[in-house]
């Protein structure tokens, strides 16, 4: 067995989710090669080489990969990946974007967002917004998988000493180009990696009221998330959405404020260790998954909580 792990990064640093993907690769077994595709991404390759369990790092440094355009990256990964038994990427918007293309180019099926490795060909994955867990088996010669980061404990970032090998494969499909991006800037921890997450829903009423949650978050070193309703209403940016079709989080502590607990929201947070719900409606479904429920008006409870921490 030989596993190719696609590194997620911003050309400067390795995204920590890759360490969880490597952990999933270890469960499969065999040699683990990390592929870093980017532009001037040497530092990323060096970082990947230090990760626990990695035997080799391939660096494809080319302008065509600078912005992770799926058309270009997929061609590269399909070409490099054809010599491996498994190709793994994180189930992030980047992995979800190119991995199915890789599978189609290799004429194999793909298994999305695995949450457990049963054996080299058998995996578990949530379906129906996490209301069911399927165990699936693939007999494809090459298994293309995306990995749910929160389901695997990251390998150590230091301690390894893999060799970095440059590969000169330039794949520019020439059919798409990068125009620009608006990235959220925040000093708070990343939503998917934070130990504490405080999310607000429609009950927050507007964007200004989210300040209360930001203040609380800063006290607890937490990240701030939101329900779809809060994002749709424009209270907060889209990248804060937690749920079936947003981000999956599993922090030590998740505090849901003014969120009803629709199945689509629960799908994104119910693997959190401890869940707190603050809602004025005692019938709200969020209380069914909460370890500690507080039936209260959030406009009283949140300032009080802030004062007492």
């Amino acid at each position: 067995m030989s596993v190719l792990v696609y590194a997620e990064h911003d050309n400067k640093a390795l995204n920590a989710v890759t360490l969880s993907v490597i952990a999933a690769a270890q469960k499969i077994g065999g040699d683990i090669t990390v592929l870093v595709a980017g532009e001037n991404a040497n530092a990323v390759a060096e970082e990947a080489a230090k990760a626990e369990g990695v035997s080799k790092v391939l660096l494809a440094d080319n302008a065509a990969y600078a912005n992770q355009l799926a058309e270009n990256v997929a061609e590269l990964v399909a070409e490099v990946g054809k010599d491996y038994t498994h190709i793994l990427a994180a189930a992030t918007t980047s992995g979800k974007n190119f991995a199915p293309r890789v599978a189609a180019l290799l004429d194999v099926n793909m298994i999305s967002e695995i949450s457990a490795v049963e054996s080299a060909d058998t995996f578990k994955r949530p379906i129906y917004a996490g209301n069911a867990i399927a165990t699936v088996q693939s007999d494809d010669a090459i298994k293309v998988l995306t990995v749910r980061g929160t389901a695997f404990d990251a390998v150590a970032a230091e301690g390894g000493s893999a060799a970095v090998e440059s590969i000169d494969i330039a794949k520019d499909a020439g059919i798409s180009s990068f125009v620009g991006e608006e990235l959220a800037k925040s000093d708070r921890p990343d939503l998917t990696a934070a130990k504490v997450v405080i999310s607000g829903g429609r009950g927050m009423q507007n964007g200004e009221n989210f300040e209360m949650l930001y203040n609380l978050a800063d006290k607890l070193g937490a990240a701030v998330g939101a329900s779809r309703a809060a994002v749709d209403a424009g209270y907060v940016p889209n990248d804060l959405q937690v749920g079936q079709t947003g981000k999956i989080v599993a922090p030590e502590l998740y505090i849901a404020v003014g969120i009803s607990g629709a199945i689509q929201h629960l799908a994104g947070m119910k693997d959190s260790k401890v869940i707190v719900a603050i809602n004025k409606d005692e019938e709200a479904p969020i209380f069914q998954v909460a370890d500690y429920g507080l039936v209260a008006d959030l406009f009283d409870a949140v300032p009080e909580l802030d004062a007492k921490l």
């Binding site: 974007n97 991995a99 793909m110 967002e113 129906y128 917004a129 798409s176 401890v274 869940i275 500690y292």
Partner: protein
């Protein structure tokens, strides 16, 4: 310009599905079915492009059993012009669906293919990207804005860090995210009119695809239940529990 919109019949998003006692799958008997919400957004986007004059014809397509005609009719009532159903009783998987879509694409030669980003039953998020690869087309996935300009389309994408804009040469593939638009409801006169719009059925042989599932589902289980929690009486009690019982702050 012609737009192709692949849609899927799925369990209604308000239904909390239950796993079958024999762990062979989820119980869909007598459960409300509907068009996948992301496909509704795809149909709506196509209709808006048509209303803006950028698009002249909308063809909707589904791969599935006869029951899915209901969702095709809904799409026709929302403003699609024609429908195609590729017949199969199998629970077809994304690669096979993408291959069937490629066959339909070759027949229809649309300039734009708009799919949902994800079907809310299997939560695969694969079909659009796979189809794009098979057809050699560029893709703008998780779209929150689509602007057609001449022979290009600009797509703003919802990505983990925020928003990203890419430019694709047409023909191209777009997959929809939640914020792209808010789908309309079909009016009664349009529902009546939709009954007369063409709906063609193709066999699996005609598209040359074997729909037998390749990824085997060994079992389907209910997720681990969380243990029942408690209702605390005050903020003080909450803080006390978080500090001393859960030890998370």
């Amino acid at each position: 310009m012609k737009v192709l919109v692949p849609i899927k019949r799925v369990v209604d998003h308000n239904v909390k599905v239950r796993v079958k006692a024999d762990n062979s799958g989820v119980d869909l008997a007598n459960v409300k079915m509907a068009m996948n919400p992301f496909c509704e957004i795809a149909v709506e986007e196509a209709v808006r492009l048509k209303e803006s004059g950028a698009v002249s014809e909308i063809v909707v397509v589904t791969i599935g059993a006869k029951a899915a005609d209901e969702q095709l009719r809904t799409a026709l009532a929302l403003g699609a012009d024609r429908a195609i159903r590729v017949e199969t009783e199998e629970d077809a998987q994304p690669l096979a669906i993408a291959k069937a879509l490629k066959a339909v694409y070759d027949k229809e030669s649309p300039n734009l293919v708009i799919l949902g980003k994800q079907a809310i039953d299997g939560d695969n998020n694969q079909t659009g990207q796979m189809f794009a690869a098979l057809a050699g087309l560029p893709q703008g996935t998780f779209a929150s804005e689509v602007k057609v300009e001449g022979d290009k389309v600009q797509v703003t994408r919802e990505i983990d860090g925020g928003l990203q804009t890419v430019e694709l040469s047409l023909p191209a593939v777009v997959t929809t995210d939640l914020r792209l638009n808010e789908p309309r409801y079909a009016s009664l006169p349009n529902i009546m009119k939709a009954k007369k719009k063409p709906l063609d059925v193709l066999s699996a042989d005609e598209v040359g695809v074997d729909f037998t599932p390749k990824v085997k589902v060994l079992k389907v289980e209910a997720p681990a239940e969380r243990e029942a929690g408690i209702i605390v009486g005050s903020v003080d009690e909450l803080v006390e529990k978080l500090k001393n019982e859960a030890k998370v702050i």
